[in-house]
Amino acid sequence: MAAVILAVAEVADGALTRLSTEVATLARELAAQAGGTALGLVVDAAPDAGAAQLAPYLPRVVAVTSPACAGETWAPHAAAEVRRLVDEGVTHVLVGATTDGRDLAGALVGLLGWGVLANASGVTWSPDGPVVEASILGGKAITKSVLTGDAGIVTVRLNAATATAAASPGAVEIRDVAAEPATPAATVLERVAEAGAEASLEEARVVVVGGRGVGSREGFAIVEELAAALGGVLGATRASVDAGWVPYARQIGQTGKVVKPALYLGLGVSGAMQHRVGMQSAEAIVVVNRDPDAPIAEVADLFVIGDLFEVGPALLAELRARRGS
């Protein structure tokens, strides 16, 4: 049976997410390796723009206008559409390892009984189907896993693939919504954007992180100024989130975001394993810590032993001076 690989895309504020373009690219590449076919799915109250943005990556995109998604949780509605496509022959479902994506993957595992390979940081195709690379045990091991049957689900982390458009764009097929959500949907009463949570941490080229060493909400001023000077985005450790200095959406690590920026600059971060799993594949890692024995030294390309309240402002002045010159 030839593989039919479905990439389930996500739309945020009317536009396709970057992760969705990567998931779509992965689906197309895997289908090529498998000698099968790939298609995409967009389920949204207004899917047209997202579907048009997805079409360059896949030969076929199914767009479902689901008005209920405006005021209800997405996964139950998306699961109903995926199930229809499974009835039409889809063998593998790829979805981002996001909040909504995991809700969808879990619902599908429950409803279809399919195997699932979670948190892929890379996927290739073998004669046995997808081979998924993932980091487990808080980054202590990297595993490769396969499905034993000929159908399954893969949740995909950001940067598991580089988004590239196909030679020619695919066709978009508009569909009516399935009669019922696959599971009971919850009502969304309100969507709240928190200050400091807007810029996408996962997509940032530069991430500047403050840990417990920053000491207070006021102390974060220097971290924020450095982030701004470097054109970067603010990140945090769990310690600084738990202290209430930074919103949870900024947390990097095992229970937060996984980032892979060109530069990670960490101030007052010890480098606990649970934090490192979220940042250790950054291209360059620079840290300022006054403790020469901080474990973050193990992954740092440049480890500055010093007080962040001295080195931080000096660096800010240096960056401004160089920009001025």
């Binding site: 949780t73 595992v109 429950g110 979670a118 045990l137 919850a186 009463l189 240096e318 920009r323």
Partner: protein
């Protein structure tokens, strides 16, 4: 209110002694067991909810027989009783089986809320709560940062953390909720709690005790690990211990070399 909390015994991440066995399955005997971090947040939230609204908290685990040791820690925090699904046929179980088993065991218990962790520190699938909700036909309120039930109205409201902030979501009870650290730090068991936990009941169930669950025979799971290795070590970095101005110049040079400024 009756709240059922899914608690998974996992190897203590802080002990650093986790090992994979020859078949790349986690060697659950190699490291001391603890309650999965996110499940402790779920349990803490559950305890606070019954303190506010009355009722009882029960915990449900699927684990090897020695899972009772870890469950006692959860009972010591204040859960009234535990159910341990344990069966040799479940060793190394995959996610679909784990989901089916937990759903079947949960369906035998009356509850208003079923709480689970967002994900696990050993596997990090982050799909079990959604899978159990789907099988039970219940609404899922995931990634909870706050939980507000309205028992009189039979509804529950959850602050669902999103990429941008949070959504306020609501559903009728019974409902399934996946829990995060944003719910607040778990309590330490009191001495009294630890003593009380010794005599609290942990009911054991085998697969045969559960309604309508078939488990693939001979461990023919839907997925399999074929390779495991340590993450590649990064090349040793440079250590700088100079006065702040000089250190700042070194950092700026480093960034300039890499075209980051």
């Amino acid at each position: 209110m009756r709240i059922l909390v899914l608690t998974k015994p996992v190897p203590d991440p802080a002990a650093g002694t986790e090992r994979l066995g020859p078949d790349y399955r986690l060697d659950r005997a190699a490291a001391p067991g603890v309650v999965n971090g996110n499940d402790e947040y779920a349990l803490e939230a559950a305890l606070q909810l019954v303190e506010a609204h009355g009722g009882e908290v029960e915990i449900l685990s699927m684990a090897p027989a020695n899972g009772t040791d870890t469950m006692r820690k959860a009972l010591a925090m204040g859960a009234a009783r535990g159910i341990l699904v344990t069966d040799p046929a479940l060793a190394g179980a995959d996610l679909p089986t784990t989901i089916r088993v937990l759903a079947a065991a949960a369906s035998a218990e009356p509850f208003d809320l079923l709480l689970a962790g967002l994900d696990t520190s050993d596997g990090q699938g982050g799909v079990v709560a959604a899978g159990v909700a789907a099988i039970l036909g219940l609404p899922l309120l995931s990634t909870a940062g706050a939980i507000e039930p309205d028992p009189a109205a039979g509804r529950v409201r959850v602050r669902r953390l999103s990429a941008k902030g949070y959504d306020v979501v609501e559903a009728p009870m019974p409902a399934v909720i996946s829990c995060t650290q944003a719910l607040g730090a778990p309590r330490y068991p009191s001495l009294k709690g630890i003593m009380a936990a010794r005599t609290r009941e942990i009911a054991q169930r085998a697969i045969a005790d559960l309604d309508g669950v078939d488990v693939p025979s001979g461990g023919a799971w839907a997925s399999r690990v074929i390779e495991a290795e340590k993450p590649p070590a990064r090349a040793a970095g440079r250590v700088v211990k100079t006065p702040p101005d000089e250190a700042a110049r070194e950092i700026a040079d480093f960034l300039a070399d890499r075209r980051l400024i």
